[in-house]
Symmetry: D3
Subunit: 300 residues, 6 copies
């Protein structure tokens, strides 16, 4: 069943989110601080049974100089490729070196970034939330920007960003923080339109925030969250973006996706899956992203 | 709690269902084809411990000539009675020969039809759905019409049809396909107003359709479903009809029942159980049906 | 899946229940007290649309002289029949006058007794449990015996008792308290082997007892329960008994049914449904009971 | 997620409840009858390890003269204090003598009343509901008024009443039935605006009523309930009241709390916890109540 | 938590399954019949954005000549490769053409077979179960063998088979029916040791069988199932096999995997994941399979 | 129902836990390091409405010098009292200043310690688990010992420790690490016998560990856990201890409590609540602890 507004209402819906006056300066100084540290990208070849692709274990310095891990996959022996930077869902990780081979097999350098600290855990929604400077996602979004820096440092200058769920939220942040991306694809993006999300969503991970407010009887987390809201990043973005949403999603409410979509400042499209839940279009969205990015590269 | 619109809204609600132009011709040709095959009704007496009733194991040829089973129960030794044809709920069957004795004990010939293939299973909502000619319910609804033919072939000319849940949906189909029924009683009828049902219902069996669309990422099943929607059959019906609905039904959304009710072309009444779930009025609905049918027969 | 011991273990299992020394005197005095009050059976004909059966609204005085209700159904105009007294499941009621017609249609006088106070409620497992003299089931079991007295007072001297779930527990009590019953059929009988039941069952209604002990931190309810345990009644019974049990029953643990079965002092049989839950054999058990009782009457 | 209307809608919402014409006379005669019996307050000192407080096991005669139990706690050796009468939640009890010490430690005489019959049970919502004179809550609300009488009989003349959930509903009843209370604090009050509650709430205990109506197919319980609705008591109240509500409460729908709040005839305030469930503000509400009552006493 | 026996017990456990005398002849004649029909393998190149791999849409004739679909993926322009035939889980499908690229990227011809009729459905466990000749899995296992025939007809003679869950059950069937496979890898194989599975498993899809028996009150499905049990196929297999199992699997009970493992007639190893559920080792099992198959090919 | 072994088996059960050789040295050096930092206890009086008690907001330096918070409550103006240090359950906090007043009212100095970082969160079971030196509970248990140091620094030399669930696990750690405690009371202690706990428990928080192993496919967390297991601390303890356990606890398996109990080296008693879940004896356990500690003080 529909988990949120009907389709007509979604087209009309606009988020009540207001970007803080110092949103831009907060992120400018955050990124400046991170970039003041050396990036130190390392890419160590990984021995795999794959014959058509090269895989590298990449590390680079993210927020606070912490080392962030990623897989880089490329078609065997190729250089100078367009790159796709991918962020993953909540509580997941970069996965196996020998899986998720589509982007590289299609001729992209594919950087699969791992979110710090998140292998099989929970509780990240409130980590450090008492202050925006200590909030977990300040680190994660900075890492995401540095991942783009890292893939460029490796010689791949044309960069696309993609992500599903939490990965979609991170990709939106990257889209708002990196001015010259080639394009963006976000599937059921999490971390958007928090006030609305908490009002209409009754399942984790959003309920980590609801529970936190209820148990501590304090709703003063919204100033912090307002610096990390995908609606705010969307309004700064310029790269063409493809969104995807399932109207029966009970994990990321559709209205929050539309909240970000309607605010998106660059060229935008949204693929609506009326009867899908959080999986949205699944591998069909992958086909759409492949097609979209190739058309941006005039490969189609 | 209410699972759908409030009562005032239900009285205003109208289904957005539109009957396909060739709905009538589709069913005319379907029934013509089925009736071109011999009905071959057989009624074999069953040895039971019942002293007041006769029970027969009835078989007849339904869609494609497939043999359909039913119990026929009559007051001992009586003929020339009015008949009640009953269809059952999803995944059920015709039950035991010696149960469900009310209609026969009340002086009706009672034909309890068994839906083909459905003993203890699931997955029927999508069987053959790729094309309306192969859809499971094309067979079932044709069988339902042939059940009326069968009971008449056995000498019972005045025929009522009834059903609960899936059985209610089948009875509505029969009401739309057989022009000269005595009356109809449907309790919480399933298989009505599919688009609405999928939007508001989060439990099986309707979710078999939702899941199918989501997993296959294709919503092109609605053209097929539009030939099997109870709202469409209701608009063709002429016999007097009694509906029953529970406003806390989470299996068959009340709005979908009202969608069929408001479209019903014959004389109609609806019994509303404000605090009931899918059971609606339970045995009280049986009392209402007995009373209604007997008044139609001027037995009251 | 199996919810309790495997089949081999069930054949070996014996309940640890010990009958209190004054079990017999407790029930002797309880029944004597009840029988010291006039039974005052009334049977008012009910107008129904049924042509083959007569239905009477029966009332009689149970425990404390409280009026107990029942339906009596007989084949039209017949007298001197064998009688079946039926007790119903937890939180249910005697149902509609015009349903549950099998026994009467098969030539029995059928008394469908209603458990006092229980229409759509819960919480009966602990009502008055502080003392055996005030316990809810002291009243119910006494009512059950008086129901047998009542059906005999109406002229039906050969009496069978049956029941499913709570009704099975009540029927076992009747079998232990009435010495001259024709036979007994119990399906998934509740209210047997309480200590075992609480240890292996995690669902209502048995958990009403578990919760009560936990919340009051007192397990001194077992002396009370020991006067109402089906294992105790079974050991006093003499009439032939048919048991039925589903090995995947998560409401009445199979071992508790076997606890009563192994203790049963009269001739006994048990029908085992290895893959059934609480429904056990459903209508197949009805067929078995019909067959068994008719063979007892040499009608077969 | 929000379980009911949004905040703006809650401010606009008004209950459709209508007070019966004889509501006042029903309660006048009920209380007169109860007060015609001697109150017989007994307060037996309890030996506890507490050094700062005295605890008494209090009993007094409630409805029908039945003995009601309570704990009375006072600062060691003090008399002439303001008193707080507290009622507890559904299925709970007065708890341990040595817990819940805040009010007494803060300088109040604290009477913790126990609701009759309710230790670890369920099913009270429908007990005796067939007639308002036999309804369970007629007894409970009368007991609540007599508890105020009792604390006064013990020499504490200035009386506050408080309660959470069911206790809040009882406190509202007391506020409507006792004209000279010092003040009232209710947290997530249950037993208000029944029609609305049944329409929007899908969890126990409200569903005991829904199930009762559905199983018995009769909704004629509303005349009874209309004599026990917190909205009705609120309209008679004069003491200053503090309400507390959680907008994500799925046990007591927020709209029903606002229904009572908007009807409250005395001075009123409501504390809104937007992201809390049934716990509302938890111990923060206690701080608010302490502060409010002390300000009423000009202790602050 | 552990969902079945402890590890020590699993090493001791042996299935009670007994292979029917005519198991071999049943399958010999089934395969002979299928092979009497032309295989008609078609492999149509698919246009994809992949640059390192070729993808073909393969169809071939399975049981009864029905056309079965598969993806074939190979490293760009390579022939004469070893092949991996993969079967998928219950209710799934062959997926997207551009995903699941690991095996082909690692230098294998990878045939991803689609189970007939199973896109997003349920109810297959009982389809046609009344007779072994009509049982759904007779068709599926025959299709699986013909898939091996098909990949060989395309010129890939050295064939490995793999599968997860239902796919693991199908792979075991192929291992028992095709004498000259290179090796086998099965992860949490379904469809093994049915009697045990029904006794210990309380979740779908195995419960489709339990429900079927309970609703139809007939357990005569075991003769049919005994011709499709992975324990039976294991005892006929000769190729080296790698098993993987999670001891907290609540969908495929670990004992049933060990039942097949202990019966496996060829060289065998089992990877035990003590704290994993149905996912077993996830992508780590893929690494193990890659390593195992490459060592069989002496590529390591 | 019982969630673990039966009572007889629990008396026989012994944990398979083996204490690492360097367990003692690990904790000796951990505590030495913590104690090398100044404790810096601060106790700031809190203005409350309580008249019988004083409340102080206490802070002191725990592991790594991090500031740890606690409430200290004492009978008004008293000094030189015996002290009770209490630790709280998982994801909770020290609560309100004006609640939980029993111990102070009974004449104890009551230090209610707050576990670091844990207000309304989750995910602590795996935080820093890769190495015992970084594991979250290394910090927490050190904080617990420093809490005892702090209460002594405040002049209360005779110290009892208590806790429920996680708090019980922490109290056991304190009992193993502080040699001269007066006595210990643990209710349903968490963090004991980890291997067993993971095998029999299917609910959070223990499943945070199970999920972590499954998702990371590595069970090498047991070396870390072996330094934090309550069974290990129990074997070092000397103070008299009272345990409490509910045999229907599905959050902390009873066998793991018995694992610690049987290993406990000091005088020990265990209170068994056969029908209780995780709440064990609730406030009755409080009565037992009060009585036990007072008898230790010869106050009884």
């Amino acid at each position: 069943m529909l988990t949120d507004l009907g389709l007509d209402e979604l087209w009309e819906y606009r988020s009540s989110y207001v970007r803080p006056d110092d949103f831009d300066s907060f992120w400018d100084s955050t990124l400046a601080e991170a970039r003041s540290l050396p990036l130190q990208v390392e890419a160590v070849p990984v021995a795999t049974p794959l014959r058509t692709l090269d895989v590298y274990d990449v590390t680079f310095s993210g927020f606070g100089g912490d080392r962030i891990r990623a897989w880089l996959r490329t078609p065997k022996g190729e250089i100078g490729l367009p790159a796709v930077v991918q962020y993953h869902g909540y509580g997941s990780n970069r996965g196996s070196a020998v899986e998720n081979l589509t982007w590289a097999s299609a001729g992209f350098a594919h950087l699969q970034v791992e979110v710090r600290d998140q292998r099989g855990g929970a509780g990240f929604m409130t980590r450090g939330i008492a202050d925006r400077s200590t909030y977990f996602y300040r680190r994660v979004f900075t890492d995401a920007v540095r991942a783009v820096d890292a893939v460029r440092a490796l010689g791949f200058s044309k960069v696309f960003v993609i992500g599903n769920s939490q990965g979609g939220g991170i990709a939106l942040a990257a889209a708002g923080l990196v001015p010259d991306l080639a394009a963006v694809h976000v599937q059921a993006p999490f971390l958007c339109d928090f006030r609305r999300a908490l009002n209409v969503c009754g399942r984790p991970p959003y309920t980590e925030l609801t529970t936190y407010i209820a148990e501590n009887r304090r709703s003063d987390i919204f100033p912090t969250l307002s610096c990390f809201d995908g609606v705010g990043f969307a309004a700064r973005a310029v790269a063409p973006a493809w969104f995807s949403v399932g109207l029966m999603d009970d994990i990321v409410p559709p209205s929050t996706v539309f909240g970000a979509y309607h605010a998106y400042a660059g060229p935008r499209q949204i693929q609506i899956w009326e009867h899908s839940a959080h999986e949205a279009g699944g591998s069909d969205d992958l086909d759409i992203a492949l097609d979209a990015f190739r058309s941006r590269l005039e490969l189609r």
